[in-house]
């Protein structure tokens, strides 16, 4: 994951709203996607994204710069998503559940991948997303998830194993359907 421009970051730390807006612009897509994967709901993901940036704004003065800004922001996003889900804000119908209806013809299609991602546990999914999708190193992902790097390593392995199995099962189902 790319890091924020240090001058922009420094200005934002000193309370420059203009600089902070540049950070919002730069990171909003990643934060929203991560939030969407955690909540599976667009509206909730938008709320979580907003909350995450609000929280980041409040605490950016204390951001020490000893880790990537993106990793720090993802930690906040994850906490916001968890808070939101803990507070009972579960969507009635999650977005992915609407999308996977109907037949699947390509085993690696988006719908199959989404279904496979949904089938694995939250802790495996968020680890997989941080490392595989957002490109964080094990150490950075460990920072976000507040676990040891070794835990990230083992979760990645288990996530891959589960995803491979889910996709393989889908292929078998497709073959039988033909």
């Amino acid at each position: 994951m790319r890091d924020a421009d240090p001058r922009t970051l420094d200005r934002a730390r000193r309370g420059d709203l203009f600089a902070f807006e540049q950070l919002v612009r730069e990171y909003q897509a990643d934060v929203y996607r991560f939030a969407w994967h955690l909540t599976r709901d667009r509206e909730l993901a938008a709320d979580v994204t907003q909350d995450a940036f609000l929280r980041a704004f409040r605490f950016i003065e204390g951001f020490r710069g000893d880790r990537k800004f993106g990793s720090w922001l993802f930690s906040i996003t994850r906490n916001c998503a968890m808070d939101s889900l803990r507070a009972g804000r579960f969507p009635l119908v999650r977005d992915g559940e609407r999308e996977v209806e109907g037949s699947v013809t390509d085993a690696t299609s988006r719908a199959v991948l989404d279904a496979a991602l949904r089938s694995i546990s939250t802790e495996h999914r968020e680890t997989f997303l941080l490392v595989e999708v957002f490109g964080l190193s094990y150490r950075e992902a460990a920072d976000v998830l507040e676990v040891a790097p070794g835990t990230v390593k083992s979760r990645m392995f288990r996530a891959r194993k589960a995803l491979c199995a889910a996709i393989a099962d889908d292929e078998v189902r497709e073959d039988r359907a033909r």
Partner: protein, 502 residues
């Protein structure tokens, strides 16, 4: 090595983790011999490919929503200095040198055709520019800068004019604007547009040639069109040159403002903003001070370059808009058709000088502003003027008794902080029709914490205005502060608004 251990290592290797030469060799040897682990490797690669080539999910643009909510972040305000305080400190400390650097860079870029060419980075929002300008305004204590004005299309005899403009500001609310016309005119019948304007709120002084009506040749101008000086001890017009220091009037709201992009200039950031000529009118105060100027169509296109830290306007350029309405306007005024790509007015910052301007620059000849401290003013006018208990960072700078004229207040208080100002006028026993002071009959009735008032948005050379009718007195407030701040101040006035008199 068992399968779980081999696959764990394989997975880590895919993620860029180093296994060490010995472990690498063990993993490779295991996979070679194990079909289940080969299937895991292939499956993991397929998942990676699927993840990386899948189209990006649509992402809503949440910038406005997020940045809008930041302004109400109470915890940060409690924990850290208010944003405005931060801006103010930085500005006061860094503005002159920083602005001079930016001006130097802009002048350089114009000469060598440099960094303004090329693609713009992603634009910031107009609201962010408004917020930046707003935050910079109260922090400014002084300014001394020069601009070059190039005007094209005044007449066939004078296709291009070049004028120097010098602007000075000294808190509280003292401005000086000088225009020095360097144009070589074809005949002595042309009067150079040399102007001196001084403002020491609320008094003003103007010296310059009276204008020649648009479309009239200079020879046809009346002989009285000579340099004239006018002193006014009491004017309610918004400070004219303020937008050449920080464009507080133009960026009073984001409506009609378009951010065209941002550009890095050394370690400084410059924002390119567009609007119509009418919308950017406060950026051209010199056009309202007499002399001879070409006409401009209200819808003409204006491009502004602003330093993203100090918000100093570095360059303001007007282009003819390409529209049917402008063609009609050109016909009506007998103007030639002007191509939309050729600038007709270009105002460019050429230097910023450090240090405070000499206070004597702002002295107004023959001005008697009747300025007092509050108790002395109360003694003179026979009542103690109503004062707000909350004024934010503004401080009372002037208490005066304006000359007796119809509709004028009998007391006027001027509060200021940097470029921010608030005027409070009062007239006890006022019984005129409609709202009091510079507030029109179309003003909107609003509710304050203490009764009702009548609000009018900025326009016509005035800031935001509010009229309050009390039981036995009438007040108006006029300011360049945002509406919510004006409302907060008005709510702290010790006068309960009872609504308009019939």
């Amino acid at each position: 090595m068992n399968c779980d251990r081999a696959q764990l290592s394989l997975s880590a290797r895919m993620d860029g983790e180093h296994l060490g030469a010995r472990r690498e060799a063990e993993v490779d040897a295991h996979i070679e011999a194990c079909s289940a682990c080969r299937a895991f490797a292939q499956g993991s690669l397929r998942v990676r490919t699927a993840v990386r080539i899948r189209p990006a999910d649509p992402v809503p643009d949440l910038v406005e929503r997020i940045v809008g909510s930041l302004e109400h972040a109470p915890q940060r305000e409690r924990r850290a200095p208010r944003l405005r305080e931060v801006y103010r400190t930085r500005w006061r400390r860094a503005m002159p040198a920083a602005a001079a650097l930016v001006v130097g860079a802009v002048v350089g870029s114009v000469i060598v055709g440099g960094p303004f060419r090329g693609a713009d980075r992603e634009a910031i929002s107009a609201q962010a520019v408004v917020r930046g300008v707003r935050a910079a305004a109260p922090g400014l204590e002084s300014f001394r800068g020069s601009f070059e004005i190039v005007e094209r299309g005044l007449s066939p005899e004078v296709p291009e004019r070049r004028l120097d403009m010098h602007v000075a500001f000294l808190a509280p609310q003292r401005f000086r604007l000088e225009v020095d016309d360097r144009t070589e005119y074809p005949s002595p019948a042309w009067t150079p547009t040399d102007i001196t304007y001084v403002e020491d709120m609320p008094a003003t002084f103007l010296s310059g040639p009276t204008g020649c009506p648009s479309g009239l040749s200079p020879d046809a101008c009346p002989q009285t069109r000579v340099t004239a000086s006018t002193t006014s001890p009491y004017s309610l017009a918004a400070p004219l040159p303020a937008d050449l220091v920080v464009p507080v009037g133009t960026f009073r709201s984001a409506r009609g403002i378009h951010v065209l992009g941002t550009q890095q200039l050394g370690d400084r950031e410059v924002v390119r903003v567009g609007s119509s000529f009418d919308r950017a009118a406060p950026m051209f105060p010199f056009l309202r001070l007499g002399g001879t100027w070409r006409p401009f169509f209200g819808g003409d296109r204006v491009e502004m370059l602003l330093d993203a830290s100090s918000w100093l306007p570095l360059r303001i350029t007007v282009f003819p808009v390409s529209s049917e309405a402008r063609r009609d306007w050109e016909l009506r005024f007998g103007m030639p058709v002007e191509p939309p790509t050729a600038p007709i007015l270009d105002v460019r910052a050429t230097s910023i000088r450090p240090g405070e301007p000499d206070p004597s620059l702002f002295e107004i000849p023959d001005a008697s502003t009747h300025a007092f401290d509050l108790p002395s003013l109360a003694d003179r006018i026979g009542y103690r003027p109503a004062t707000p208990t909350f004024t934010g960072s503004l401080e009372l700078e002037t208490a005066m008794a304006p000359p007796e004229t119809a509709g004028a207040p009998s007391s006027l208080l001027v509060y200021a902080d940097g470029l921010d100002y608030l005027r409070v006028g009062e007239r006890p026993g006022w019984s005129g029709a409609g709202p009091f002071g510079p507030v029109g009959a179309d003003a909107v009735r609003v509710t304050l914490d203490s009764g009702v008032a009548y609000f009018e948005p900025p326009g016509g050379g005035l800031g935001r205005r509010l009229a309050i009718f009390g039981e036995d007195t009438a007040l108006f407030l006029e300011t360049n502060l945002p509406r919510n701040e004006l409302m907060a101040i008005a709510s702290s006035m010790p006068v309960r608004g009872i609504g308009a008199r019939p």
